[in-house]
Each structure stands twice: as C-alpha cells, then as structure tokens.
C-alpha cells in the first residue's frame, strides 16, 4: 500500500473535527477490512485515515432500549453482534445472516457502522437491517440526525452521509412477531460476495401478509426497497399464485447489473425465484 498518515482520536467529537468535508483522501476507518481491500486494489489512496478504535467505548455497546428496540453501537464488531444474546433470541434472521458473512476473522474485526457506511451493495447487513426497519444515528459537526437505513444508499458505493459525518448507532425496532428471512445466492463459495441478496419481513394476520418490507441487494447498484413487490404481497394470502406475482413484480421493477457473479438477466431470474423462496422461508422459520 502507498504510505499515508493515521490518527487515532480518543473521542467522537475529536474524530468528527478531524474529518474534512472537502477532502476525499481523508476517511474514517473502523475495522478496515473493506477499506484495505480498496487500498490494496489502488481504487482508494488515502492521505490520512481517522482510526475510530479509541473513541468512547459506549459506541461499541449493544443493548435493548426501554422500548424494546435493539441499539447497536456502530463500533461493535460483527462477531459481537452475531454472539449477542438479544440478537439470537429476538432477531434470529440477523444471527443466521452472520454465519455466512465473510469469515470469522473478518467478523472479528469488521464493525457494524463500517459495514453500513461502506455503501457496497454486496454486503449482508444493509439489506437485512433495512428489512428489519432499522434506523441509523448519524453525528456531524452540526449535531445528530436519524434516518431510516434504507435511505442511506444513494448509489454504487454512494451514501447520503457527508464526508464529515459518522454513523454512531443502528436501532432495530422490536420485531413484534413479524416474520423475516434473508436469502443470498453465491455463485462460487458460500461465503463469497453474493450475486443476489433478498430480505423480507412482514406481519401475518388472518393468514394474510401485512406491511411487507422487501429489499434487494448485490444484484442492483444499491440496496433497494422494492415497492411493486411489496404492493403485490400486501394483504395477499401467501399461496403459489401470490408469490409468483410478487416475484414477477420484483423482477420487473429493478435494474440488475452484470458482474463477475452473474449476468443481469441471470440475476433477474434469481430475484424472481428467490423472492418467493424468501417469503416461504420467513413463513416456515417462524412456525416453530
């Protein structure tokens, strides 16, 4: 890698003051596992990295709020999230997704905030947490703001974050019996970058799907909420015909991209099929 400077602020406030909204070669680094890949590939050459390891430990905490929401500090490692007992008991879809998210070594080092802020559409946490209606807390020089995670993604590796803003936490609402599933398709090894990710959550009342959230990732330029598929599922009994309509709606509403993990038409067919499978898995996983 090309030489650069690294500073290690000891507070969030200090870290924010070191970021420069006009200078793209100064960037924050959390776990660094994704950023180092970009640096090794030569697509990112920093002049200075702002290491977040030494900021207040509160930003690594994972805890339930008094509203029953799970608040995940942005500096928690993916492995800490995976092993958290509240995640295991309340958000099993998240715990399951972690199992095939890269490797144990990467999960030991990578941080939740970094995995969200990186903006790579192939990652697992953005679609899963978006489908769980997670919100992110963002700190900047002028104070804090909160936004739905699904609104974070603006394009391929592009987010709605300013260069001098940092994600401080992710808040996941209480599941309240909503059903959830995340499926990803890898064309090589199980822990490879996926060709497609689909995350769905919905309530089930009187045998009908209510308030579905359907998210696609990896096959598209950014993590995307699929409103046509949601409309097709809303109030539907999840029979074969309804799932087929939803899969077709999903395949029609987004633009898939060709890359090393599959052609655009291939990914479109994957989406059509895996949306149906994800809804079925959500129904089955929560049945027992």
């Amino acid at each position: 890698m090309i030489p650069f400077d690294m500073v290690e602020p000891t507070s969030l406030r200090e870290a924010l003051s070191l970021l420069d909204p006009q200078e793209p070669t100064i960037r924050p680094v959390a776990g660094g596992t994704a950023l180092m890949l970009m640096m090794k590939a030569g697509v990112f050459t920093p002049t200075r990295l702002i290491c977040l390891h030494r900021i207040e430990p509160d930003f690594s905490r994972i805890a339930l709020t008094d509203k029953g929401e799970l608040r995940i500090g942005a500096m928690a490692t993916l492995r800490e999230l995976e092993k958290d007992h509240n995640v295991a008991s309340r958000l099993p879809v998240l715990a399951r997704a972690m199992r095939t998210l890269s490797s144990v070594r990467v999960r030991n080092v990578a941080r939740v905030g970094g995995a969200l802020a990186h903006g790579d559409p192939h990652m697992d946490l953005p679609p899963v947490l978006s489908a769980l209606a997670a919100r992110i807390s963002v700190a900047g020089p002028n104070g804090n703001r909160e936004l739905p995670l699904e609104k974070l993604y603006a394009g391929y590796y592009e987010t709605a974050l300013e260069k001098n803003e940092l994600i401080t936490a992710v808040t996941v609402p209480a599941p309240n019996g909503r059903k959830a599933a995340y499926m990803k398709v890898t064309s090589r090894t199980a822990d490879d970058w996926p060709s497609l990710g689909v995350a769905v959550t919905f309530a089930l009342a009187d045998g009908r799907i209510r308030d579905p959230i359907v998210i696609v990732s990896a096959a598209t330029e950014k993590v995307t909420r699929m409103s046509a598929a949601e409309t097709a599922l809303q109030d539907a009994a999840p029979d074969k015909a309804a799932l087929q309509r939803a899969g077709d709606a999903a395949a029609d509403e987004v633009e898939t991209l060709s890359d090393a993990h599959g052609s655009a038409p291939y990914k479109r067919e994957l989406l059509r099929v895996y949306l149906r499978r994800a809804v079925r898995e959500a129904l089955e996983e929560n049945a027992h």
Binding site: M1, I2, P3, F4, D5, M6, G32, T33, M36, L37, K40, L49, C51, H53, R79, R99, T100, S102, S103, V104, R105, V106, N108, V109, T189, A190, D191
Partner: protein, 153 residues
Amino acid sequence: MDARPINFTLNGQPVSTAIEPHRNLVELLQRFDLFGARESCGQGLCGCCTVLVDGKAVSGCLYFAVWADGKSITTIEALDANGELAPMQQAFVDAAAFQCGYCTPGFILMSQQLLKENPNPSDDDIRHYLSGNLCRCGTYPEVIEAVKAAAKR
C-alpha cells in the same frame, strides 16, 4: 509517512518496534523473523495469514500493523514453544491434514479457536468456521477428521 513506535506482547514476550501506518500485521511479524503467517490472497479470503490478536483470530493481511500497539499477538510459532506439538498440530499430523503445508498454520490456529468456542463441533460447524480457509491441495476431508480427533482428545 514516519514509522511510529509500538509496544505489544508477541507470543508472550513484550516487544517494541517502530512501523509505518501502511504496513500490515504480516509485514510486522516478518520483522521478528516469524514467517508462519503468510500473505497469500491478500484479501482475507484464504486464511494463510491467520494471527490471534487478544485471543481473536484476524486476517493479518487486513489488519494494520500499528493496531498491534498495546495488544497481545499470538502466532503459530507459539504453539510448540515448549518443544512439543500442540494437540491440534499433532491431530493434523495424525490425520495427514495437509499436503504442501502452506495453509496449515492458518487452519490450525482457526481450528483451535473453533474448539475453544465450541468443544464438540458438528461437521457443519467445522465447515462454516473454516469456510474462510482455503487449501489448494484439497485436504478438507482430512482437516475435518483432524479437528474431530482433536476435539476428542
């Protein structure tokens, strides 16, 4: 950029050196003549650079060397420091769970971590835990056999 001083514990011994921010943990270890962690894929996919940082496995190729400051670093070289193979090393020998041996330090460190977290893993647990370790000689069946044998010892 200038090298900066770092102090850390390396295989039980306190050490000091100075290193630049753009170096990774594998490069740091090479300065101490430790070559068991190898940078192979350079992308955290193959596991040949596995090192323990404060008891947790990391990919040395995706870990900045300066982050070792204040930490305890353990490499494959620590396992037989008393002159005897560690049980996992012996299990790999007994099961012939390697051919060229290039990936073996990573497999052994990861397998030890697995048994620490899960003393009685199923085949599926082993496959998932070691999914980030690649063996180009294809000794996966023997590796699983070795891990199960080590779990029984």
